[in-house]
Symmetry: C2
Subunit: 475 residues, 2 copies
């Protein structure tokens, strides 16, 4: 065995709870977990590199099931505006100045901050996903469920009213679909990369293209990763295109898109029956608590899907709006939001929330054969969390494991001090082993100053809520 | 001038917004601020010690308007239970094993983590406040609005049902009142210490003692810091003691307690009219977002009090439940909770939330003549926040200050790298100057292991929701 972490508080996530092993050890060899158990049962003579994990939790790496990390370069650029304005009038006027390379730069930053807070798998969603795979995920040695956006909108969204139906061009969609199929072939045997299909949303892709997406994904046994029923903007578009009685879930159902290959992101604009139907047909759901509360003022229906027996993961979405790529933060946020939504402090307790940010996210992305638990034979995607930081103290094993609550409610993310992906240390004792964090920060900062400046006229012309606030001297 | 921070993004909090000065400088001398303005206007020849604050926000220290830091030693001990159980059945069985010295130890830890995240003033609330002043706040050189708990309950709260009215002993209250008066005299001229009166709550103090408290506080021109209308447990007690139609606000009003000397903490169990009456009579309100959402499943009525024109601060309450003493976290939490409560992403924007965690908290505690803004003549209670951390990048000044949103939505608290109280560096470049953080962490950890172990029988006998969860193997 090449490496073992011993004397640690092991959260294996095996079984129906957390599968805690007091004074546990996990060892791995050639990227795969080779031992999980009590430290006393490990044959230490066989281990080359022993790490003392005392005062630490050691657990599976976190899974960010839905994210657009490229937009991290626009952090702080769009929030606190009405939902209907956010995409086209607040983010849009700045985002239209993004060059392709900016998304790579933004993704580097987003992945870095995600790694720092223990994320080892990213459900990435972007145009030109191949560039992010080649320039970010592969050089950083980070696991990615990679989704090329399929979007056919050709209208200038900054210029059309909210009720004007987008003009779609199926040629655009077919190009992205073709890219996806090509990537699927090329990365079929590549470790750490899984290719998903990404029709952006029902209002942005024609039914003809959705048919083709479904057919192709079925043939290649790939999951379809799609924004579903994400609020007023989409609702107006769907009614405009498909008629007054239409809803996203109804139309997707008619198109045969709802089955266990569907990853349905957001889903807050769905009825109880629609949620039930999604769950019964096997679709998985992803909630993005910080994003949807910030941008829509809505608590994602994570608890509702769980109560119906659904499989649910969590995602950070994009930085502008929610702020950060930090799954510990997402876990705490969905817990607090849900407790207040139901006025019940007992809902979404930490032993359940902790699974959402890790194992359940792996299931959503179809990766739970490989990751999500500490179990012999699975990939060594492992993190350690330092419980001896002031905000994590004390931690006791008896009479109950108080640190389970602290992991969800007190962790900032910066307590993560080792991040291991497929057996390789990405962060060791709090420092990146290979990634040049400072360089990325400086490059993003330099480029963002210019980018925001270039966007000034478009931003001011948008007359968004944020512009009005700015004019009052408050921003 | 002894010290100046230059080339920095200055948030002065002067005026109605944030009072931002781009490329600003703040200097101080003998503990007081002596210069606030553009870096170019500062006469640097007169400054002994110049700190380059580029890529940093420099702003007033944060104010934690209501907290019980002593309980930090029980972090992770009680949460995810029904509100009615929390105090007496979940926290109580462990808390009854606390010795007086444990509260000192817990307070050291709580103050340390608070300082780390930029809190320079604590609205501390505890029995034996004098010990915390002498053993924590004074040696650490930290500002405290110190409140001795006045509580007359003599019933064993773990043994009585929720509807049994507590037995009160006014002698107990009079002793605490006497302590408060004595402290007020002794610390009248002591810098960094302000003594407040602390009748714990209407259900825990007799009306006779409340009369005496009010009379004494008025004479000494001190504020009264009190938990007001904090939910079902209190409501049942008040109705039991004062009759079916009684509410906390009604009875406090009859007792003449509601005026601009009242700091009313929580207030979530109040009607719209009661809120209005509190505001109109000048009472200030403190919301504890993490605590009240975690323990009660309720969004504190911060936005309601603000909308009525009230003065509102934020507090961290105690660690068990919400988790941490971190005002950046409280600011983000109240923003997200309020946005979802009103399904409106525009409410509680960061330019307002940032004031709640600092200046408005100072007003609540009656300290805004001394702290709360960067302004010549005020005390140099100043923090710097590193914006070049990955999760804070990028930061731009043009066309608007994107970092204002990032300060509230992306900060974990660990970006705070300088904490200055009355001109003295408590944390410098990320490290404590005098406080021995490691020693405190180790002492708390050692003691907590024993304390939790000693509480085992009482905890199990409580048969609380948490105990049932534990028995299912989930904790």
């Amino acid at each position: 065995m090449d490496t073992a972490i011993i004397n640690t508080k092991l959260i294996t996530l095996q079984g129906h709870g957390l599968g805690i092993i007091d004074d546990g050890a996990v060892a791995f060899s050639h990227g795969k977990i080779s031992f999980v158990g009590k430290t006393s049962s490990l044959d230490k003579g066989e281990v080359e590199n022993i790490i003392d994990g005392r005062d630490h939790v050691t657990m599976p790496g976190l899974v960010n099931a839905h994210t657009h990390t490229g937009l991290t370069i626009l952090r702080g650029g769009a929030q606190d505006v009405p939902e209907i304005e956010w995409m086209n009038r607040a983010l849009g006027p700045i985002a239209r100045h993004l060059k392709e390379k900016d998304l790579v730069l933004g993704a580097k930053l987003g992945v870095i901050e995600g790694l720092r807070s223990g994320i080892t798998t990213f459900g990435e969603y972007t145009t030109n996903i191949e560039e992010l795979i080649r320039e970010v995920y592969q050089p950083f040695h980070v696991r990615v469920a990679a989704t090329e956006t399929i979007n056919e909108v050709i209208s200038d969204k900054t210029k059309i009213g909210p009720k004007d139906v987008y003009e779609l061009d199926p040629i655009k969609g077919n190009i992205s679909l073709g890219k996806t199929e090509k990537l699927h072939r090329e990365y079929a045997d590549t470790k750490l990369v899984e290719i998903l299909y990404g029709p952006q949303a029902l209002d942005m892709v024609s039914p003809e293209t959705l048919d083709k997406v479904k057919e192709s994904a079925s043939k290649l046994k790939a999951k379809i990763h799609m924004h579903v029923a994400q609020g007023e903007r989409e609702r107006l578009q769907v009614k405009g295109r498909y008629g007054k009685g239409a809803t996203t879930v109804k139309i997707l159902d008619e198109l045969g898109m709802i089955d266990d290959d569907l990853i349905a992101v957001h889903c807050h604009d769905t009825t109880e029956n629609e949620k039930r139907s999604l769950v019964e047909k096997g679709a998985c759901m992803v909630g993005c608590p910080s994003s949807i509360s910030m941008i829509d003022g809505i608590v994602p229906p994570v608890w509702e899907f769980l109560s119906l027996g659904g499989t649910v993961g969590l995602g950070t979405d994009q930085a502008p709006g929610p702020g950060t790529h930090n799954m510990f933060r997402e876990m705490r946020t969905i817990a607090l939001l849900t407790k207040t939504k139901y006025r019940d402090p007992t809902v979404l307790p930490p032993w359940q929330t902790l699974r959402l940010g890790s194992l359940e996210g792996a299931k959503v992305l179809g990766l739970d054969d490989t990751i999500g638990t500490l179990e012999e034979g699975k990939s060594a995607d492992v993190i350690t969390v330092n419980l001896s930081r002031p905000n994590m103290t004390p931690s006791v094993d008896f009479p109950f494991h108080n640190y389970v609550a602290n992991l969800v409610y007190s962790t900032t993310g910066f307590e993560v001090d080792n991040v291991i992906i497929e057996g390789k240390f990405i962060i060791r004792d709090g420092n990146f082993v290979q990634v040049d964090e400072r360089k990325v920060v400086e490059e993003v900062q330099d480029r963002a100053v210019t980018l925001f400046k270039d966007a000034t006229d478009d931003w001011e012309d948008s007359e968004s809520h944020l512009v009005n606030v700015f004019r009052k001297g408050l921003l």
